[in-house]
Symmetry: C2
């Protein structure tokens, strides 16, 4: 038998603040309809064990009938934390980042977490500007998907986040030196693999084009490249190293300049697929044949690479796996586990016609 109690109201409601908004049902409305207290409604909604199956059904029925959805902001205020995580992304317009964003969004969604997007556009000022706000918004955490190395200026900000109980995770860049758990692709071994592949095709003058200084990821790739060229015999030539931005134009310009200077090379290892595509354009402009005259390997395994002329050999990227690792960290943290300091995702050689 279901006991029927008098409706319980804990508070008189204010006149609507928002004149245009239709009145939305609250826990109190649900409680009233179900003949229980708002506390019980809350317990049911939050899956607390200590509720009778009978009561639970009563509440759930009322929730359904009223089309009730809890007010996220009230929950957040009360719990002292929101349910959203900010993604700070180096440059959302680069495929690598937009792809990562896609997977992170869907992965967080599966954990019931909302994603606040903040695009940095390669600006550390913007990063520094955002970080304190993360605290005032009582975010659950912050995911850093940066393109550039961060200066020490952000360190205290990061500490501030942690002191306030925000989760901070880096994706795509190793920020362990700031005590931030990081999910990265292995870069050095990948570049090593790529260059060895060029070597296996009798290429002997292999250039490197891509950002090195100021980019830990770029530095790692360059090291892998250098190691591969240094090992059996010394094929490394500093004149064939072009430290330029991760951009189409930089790739094209660097290669065009080298060609103009009369430098000889029969292979190019690029730091990204965009750079590789720029390189392809420069070679094309000069009437050179890829891969006959020059073989090219990119980094990132972008879909686009399958449609360049010729299609682009590249080291794969796995934003889906990275996002999955992020989710695992989140789950772990919810259970009170300390996250792994470093998680590494392997890249693979995607063989296509350019090499």
């Amino acid at each position: 038998m279901v006991r029927v109690r008098a409706p319980i109201l804990h508070r008189r409601r204010l006149a609507r603040q928002d004149p245009q908004g239709a009145p939305k049902p609250t826990v109190i409305d649900v409680a009233q309809k179900a003949g229980v207290s708002s506390a019980t409604v809350s317990r049911v909604l939050n899956g607390k064990a200590s509720v009778t199956a009978e009561t639970r059904e009563l509440v759930l029925g009322a929730v359904r009938k009223l089309g009730f959805h809890p007010n996220t902001m009230a929950q957040g205020l009360r719990k002292g934390q929101s349910n959203t995580i900010a993604l700070l992304v180096g440059d959302i317009e680069q495929t690598h980042f937009s792809s990562l964003t896609n997977h992170i969004q869907s992965t967080l969604e599966q954990s019931g977490v909302d994603l606040l997007l903040y695009n940095l556009g390669h600006s550390e000022d913007r990063l520094i500007n955002f970080l304190p706000r993360a605290v005032t918004m009582r975010l659950k955490g912050v995911v850093l998907a940066l393109s550039d190395d961060v200066s020490k200026a952000v360190l205290p900000l990061l500490d501030h986040l942690r002191e306030n109980g925000l989760l901070v995770v880096a994706v795509g860049q190793n920020l362990n030196r700031y005590k931030i758990p990081s999910i990265v692709h292995e870069e050095r071994a990948a570049a090593h693999t790529a260059v060895r592949y060029l070597l296996s095709q009798e290429r002997r003058k292999i250039a490197y084009v891509g950002r090195i200084k100021g980019s830990s990821v770029g530095t790692e790739r360059f090291r892998g490249y250098k190691a591969a060229l240094s090992q059996p015999s010394d094929l490394f030539d500093p004149n064939l190293v072009w430290d330029v931005a991760f951009r189409y134009a930089a790739g094209r310009d660097a290669v065009a300049r080298a060609l103009q200077q009369g430098l000889h090379f029969d292979g190019i290892q690029a730091g990204s697929d965009e750079l590789a595509m720029g390189a392809l354009a420069a070679l094309y402009d000069r009437g050179l044949n890829v891969p006959k005259d020059v073989a090219v390997i990119g980094f990132g395994g972008l879909e686009m690479g399958a449609y360049t002329c010729p299609s682009l050999t590249s080291m794969s990227s796995h934003p889906d796996i990275a996002a999955e690792h992020l989710r695992a960290i989140l789950r772990g943290v919810d259970r009170g586990e300390a996250p792994l300091a470093l998680t590494t995702v392997q890249r693979k050689l995607i063989r296509r016609q350019s090499a």
Copy 2:
């Protein structure tokens, strides 16, 4: 003379809910330090006119000293509305959308609005799934940047949003039939311009590759194409119309198939730069010369198009301008103005080597 009052506390504070979080200063702390009431602090923070310059300075000083930042969720709860807008985006991995996202994020930021990102991945189910949540989150509004037409199933959801005072705006797609203010690029005239350009170069057999059915944008482009071919003389040939998805692979496959079938054409108008790039790949694979044998024009003006081989002629896109229009709508709505039903952004021909 500044009157010094006894500190005014409106409420005892609870023991911290969040054990790890350092206690964050509240309006009450600020009020105490400034010797005013929390109401006055709030007034200063919200820029209400009715505050003495003297008092204002006092409060601002206290804010600075304490490093106070208002709790966004408390504000939102009280005001009945958050300060965030959701961007529902067709597919963040497509450059067109990621670029739009970039500009919308920075534009909203300038208005002090946060961006919640929700990627649809072309799924209407996901759209239908999200919309009710927008209400429970008390979002300020929702920006729809969709790729596909929406079915009537979303109509009641959209109404639900509006009934609850949420702003709904469409970007990149005309949703006026659902009474949604829309910011769009003009498509038909743009396609017309592009095809006329091909015509001006003595191309006579011009194909169209790209999504038509199910995409209002695609339909518009196709109409422009058709009109340009129909007008002076009738050059329109249904066999040269390939209604395929907005994807690299679709572009390549459609062109490869046509070539294999022995169809003749000397120009291709593509519905997007990705499709155009796919087409380029198919022509390259067949050993055809672009633009000598076949000229190609894309849509979108992507940076990438400058680095294809040869570089891609395209109709430009202006996400920055679209975002600026969005901001204007926001500002207007804040002032109580009704937004323009339709805002149109012009495209321009970007001449490059492929045509």
